[in-house]
């Protein structure tokens, strides 16, 4: 077995471990309703399994690093997988400070979704383009991802806080948006399901089209085309023809992926609602009803405080040093740079609001969720939609 196969297997083991640990964390919370003592046992097993998963994923990371000769953070698959790993790492760190098991019940599924999302992108080891051939790739990307992961834990805490405090029996804006967050998570599952199913079916259609500058290009669809590219012509078509043609400005292939994900996600969501006969927020609510709100609020704040300096160092300072070396200017207003700055400004505002305006509790929790939304936007949308120097994942 070659190193890269070992690496892939380790990642798989980690994935399974996180899945099992999630269930164990759920069990530990359920058990605590009956007797206090079992909790400790379940909780301990859960964290041990989490750590086994984390070590296994670290094994994936290191073996892949050795195999490819560069830190495995150079494309969408590698970076996002590492991001998932760092989220688990940040959770373990925060867990050992505060020992709140409910965190695991949210942090691990989020990490699982992120890793599943990552594995939908091509996972081949590819060589580095010249601008990435620098040890700053390792330093900058890993520090930035670490900072983002710690910041993500504040969103995890925020979600737990809101699940507990929001009254799900009465209609309210909070109830709506909380369920919207849940729906978004299901849509990610929808993306994973849709991509995997069409992958297994080996779906592939090829079209030629005119891009926004009027040049003729070709594009491969790996999902049945709902939308066609600008003035598309089928080169090799299977199953169905595009239903609607899009103007050149819109990448119809990506739109197709988004709509398929939404479709599958919505069906899944409806199924869950039909089977459980309540909101997804309501399914999770019993698990968090015993959490200490003040403690969860502090965890949220603390993770921002811990993550903010790390993020600043990785995503701004190291980024500027590298940009100065590679592109001759430390700052160029590239979309990824701008969104890193926006993330930074947002968390700066978060801290000032909290310190000076006393935005704690619910407000702070919502801000933490919005912050994580910005981080995800920078990861997904900026790479896939807004083209720029950082769009290493145009696939």
């Amino acid at each position: 077995m070659s190193l890269i196969d070992i690496s892939g297997n380790l990642l798989f083991v980690a994935f399974i471990a996180y899945l099992v640990a999630t269930l164990l964390f759920g069990g530990s919370i359920k058990q605590s309703n009956a007797t206090g003592k079992n909790t400790d046992k379940w909780g301990k097993v859960a964290i041990v399994v989490t750590i086994i998963g984390l070590l296994s994923q670290l094994g994936y990371f290191i073996t892949r690093w050795v195999y490819s000769g560069h830190a495995p953070v150079s494309n969408m698959f590698e970076f996002t997988t590492a991001f998932g790993m760092f989220i688990v790492g940040a959770f373990v760190l925060i867990y050992f400070i505060y020992r709140v098991t409910a965190l695991g019940l949210v942090a691990l599924p989020v990490a699982l979704l992120i890793i599943a999302y990552a594995s939908m992108f091509p996972s081949e080891v590819s060589p580095l383009v010249p601008s990435l051939q620098s040890y700053w790739l390792t330093i900058h990307v890993i520090t930035a991802a670490l900072g983002q992961s710690i910041l993500a834990i504040s969103a995890v805490a925020g979600l737990i806080y809101l699940l507990k405090v929001v009254d799900l029996k009465k209609p309210s804006k909070q109830r709506f948006w909380l369920e919207a967050v849940m729906f978004f998570l299901v849509v990610v599952v929808g993306f994973v399901v849709a991509t995997s199913v069409f992958n297994m079916m080996d779906y592939d259609s090829t079209y030629s089209y005119l891009d926004k500058e009027g040049k003729e290009r070709q594009i491969d669809y790996n999902m049945p085309p709902l939308f066609g590219m600008n003035e598309y012509k089928a080169v090799e078509e299977h199953g169905m023809s595009p239903l609607v043609e899009m103007p050149a400005l819109i990448n119809a292939k990506k739109l197709t992926t988004v709509v398929w994900s939404l479709l599958v996600g919505s069906i899944l969501y409806l199924l869950i609602r039909l089977i459980a006969r309540r909101r997804i927020s309501a399914i999770f609510q019993p698990f968090v009803k015993r959490v200490n709100l003040q403690l969860v609020d502090e965890i949220g704040y603390r993770s921002v405080i811990i993550g903010f300096p790390v993020f600043t160092l990785g995503a701004l300072i190291f980024a500027m040093i590298w940009a100065q070396l590679a592109w001759s200017r430390f700052w160029g207003w590239d979309p990824k740079e701008v969104w890193a700055l926006i993330t930074w400004l947002f968390y700066a505002a978060f801290l000032h609001l909290r310190l000076s305006k006393g935005w704690e509790g619910e407000k702070s929790a919502w801000l933490a969720l919005i912050g994580f939304g910005i981080i995800l936007f920078n990861l997904i949308a900026v790479n896939l939609i807004l083209a720029g120097l950082h769009s290493y994942a145009s696939a």
Binding site: I29, Y98, R99, V100, T101, P130, F330, L386
Partner: protein, 557 residues
């Protein structure tokens, strides 16, 4: 404005909220609340005190954290708008036609975006004013609060009044059997916990991590230094940003670097072996570049040479400029930015008789520096009447060139032979049959090969602001780390000789760790259990029981 005399007799500056000496609340509001606002330790903050003159109003505007946050949010939203469409510098079109590009590619939206100036948003006056206001806000707010806070922290008294202690978030009241023993034990434990302990009669103050309070002010100083560095770029001489295209074999003066010359020896483009990637993955994927490199030689003019004089150049060194590995010299850096492969350098033509295909001789045209006339020596000659390096069609009968780069050279030749002494005119474009505008010719210019070469594009950059930016960045990081990873913890203890105990504690963040310390010292010194005055009754599961199991998290509560 008059000073405020506290009940303890201390005279406080106007605007003070908590007496500097004993801590008694001095405002009505302070007297009413259960837990006092400890943000700046109750000192007189200028912006909260004066609001009459114009200067006061300006000062108060910029010192307001609310205004600061609003500025952050506005900057954030503005910055995000700049990413909706690509900024003009990233648009793949030559400068004059960028406006056209926006309209052509993005339609009405693009036109609007460009016309509103959003295509160069980060250079607009209003965006820069926004950042400037943010900077002013940082300076004013820091001075407004930082100085009084510093004064107050420096002059802390050990003994505080009951009304101060009882309005802290954490308080404990009760009885102990032996007053002195309790004080000693608390001093011992708190010292072990790395607190600095001061005692004054029956009072005790244990304090740890005071420097953490300075974190925010330090990081604001760092930010201001950074922004100052950014602004210094506008001062001439601090910042050089030039660009140069240089072909293989050429030696040219480096723009912006007086006296320096550079020779392009060779441009190298290496690609990854496509087979290596294997399988379907590489299908349709462009060949991936592995290395962009230009081997150069750097020269310097001798002292006192005239500008541009390239005689007697002194060789400094050879270097291979690669991406991520710029050439550095005397504060300047040269970066590999772009390249052009296979640029035409020279074209060769034979002057041939159309009927016999007999050649009268060959001319070699240096495309960057063509001669006006080529004498073939046998009575024949070729004149270049017009040369367009990058032919782009005719306008009013004149051939036009798009650029000065020989991408698509075209020539208007006059061919003179003994047979045609008056000369024949022919328009020759690469890979096209020649045009004969003045009637049929007997001779033609027959293409006889070309020579190619590569050229490299460098950016020449000198940025003397970098050290300032670096210092600013480092100070910012130090401040942010101090402010984030450390916290200021204080414990006030008052044990009367009769054994009555009053304890209060304050921490600027991370109450969780403070409570751990409190649990330790409470147990050790047998202090009465403390209570958190902010604990809400509804969260009062078992957790609110002071100092018990809270740290173990939710599931055990």
């Amino acid at each position: 404005m008059e000073n405020i005399i506290c009940a303890c007799g201390h005279s406080n500056p106007y605007g003070t909220k908590l007496c500097e000496k004993c801590g008694r609340p001095l405002t009505e509001e302070g007297k009413q609340t259960k837990v006092v606002d400890m943000r700046y330790d109750g000192t007189a903050i200028r912006s909260k005190t004066y609001n009459t003159t114009f200067v006061d109003k300006i000062w108060n505007f910029f010192s307001s954290v609310k205004v600061g946050i609003a500025l952050i949010i506005i900057t954030l939203v503005a910055a995000s708008i700049g990413t909706i469409l690509p900024q003009a510098i990233y648009v793949n079109a030559p400068e004059p036609s960028k406006a056209e590009y926006y309209e052509k590619v993005y339609g009405v939206l693009g036109k609007l975006y460009n016309n509103l100036g959003l295509s160069h948003l980060y250079n607009t006056w209003w965006f820069q004013i926004l950042v400037g206001m943010l900077a002013i806000s940082i300076i004013v707010a820091s001075l407004d609060r930082g100085l009084p806070l510093h004064k107050s922290l420096k002059n802390q008294r050990v003994k505080r009044h009951e009304s101060f202690m009882k309005r802290q978030r954490i308080i404990a009241e009760g009885q102990v059997p032996n007053a002195d023993e309790t004080l000693d034990k608390v001093e011992q434990k708190m010292s072990e916990l790395k607190y600095r302990v001061r005692r004054d009669g029956s009072a005790l103050l244990a304090e740890r991590g005071r420097f953490a309070r300075y974190g925010p002010y330090i990081n604001h100083v760092g930010l201001i230094i950074f922004l100052t560095g950014v602004m210094l770029r506008l001062v001439p001489g601090f910042y050089v940003d030039e660009t140069i295209w240089i072909r293989e074999g050429e030696t040219r003066a480096i723009p912006g670097m007086d006296g320096y010359f550079i020779k392009n020896n060779k441009f190298i483009l290496e690609t990854h072996d496509e087979k290596q990637q294997g399988g379907e993955a590489s299908q349709g994927v462009n060949v991936m570049a592995k290395n962009y490199q230009t081997d150069i030689t750097l020269y310097k003019q001798p002292e006192g040479a005239l500008p541009g004089d390239s005689d007697n150049l002194e060789k400094l060194r050879d270097y291979s400029i690669r991406v991520n590995h710029p050439l550095k010299e005397n504060g300047f850096a040269l970066y590999q930015m772009n390249y052009r492969l296979n640029e035409l350098r020279q074209m060769n033509f034979n002057l041939v008789n159309k009927a016999s295909e007999e050649s009268q001789g060959q001319i070699e045209i240096d495309l960057t520096n063509p001669k006006k006339e080529y004498d073939l020596g046998n009575g024949s000659s070729v004149q270049i009447l017009v040369y367009t390096p990058d032919f782009d069609g005719f306008e009013n009968g004149e051939p036009q060139t798009k650029t000065s780069i020989p991408n698509n050279p075209a020539f208007l030749f006059r061919m003179t032979t003994p047979e045609t002494p008056k000369g024949e005119v022919s328009f020759v474009e690469i890979r096209k049959p020649p045009l004969e505008p003045l009637g049929e010719n007997k001779y033609r210019m027959k293409f006889a090969g070309a020579e190619m070469r590569n050229s490299s594009n460098f950016t020449i950059r000198k940025d003397s602001t970098i050290p300032i930016l670096f210092v600013g960045g480092v100070i910012f990081m130090i401040g942010v780390v101090i402010g984030s990873y450390w916290n200021h913890r204080r414990l006030w203890l008052q044990v009367d000789p009769d054994g009555r105990v009053l304890m209060a504690a304050h921490v600027n963040k991370n109450m969780f760790s403070m409570k751990k310390d409190l649990d330790t010292v409470t147990t050790f010194a047998g202090l009465p259990p403390y209570k958190d005055q902010l604990d809400k009754p509804e969260d009062d599961n078992k957790s609110a029981k002071p100092g018990t199991k809270e740290k173990e998290g939710d599931s055990t509560l």
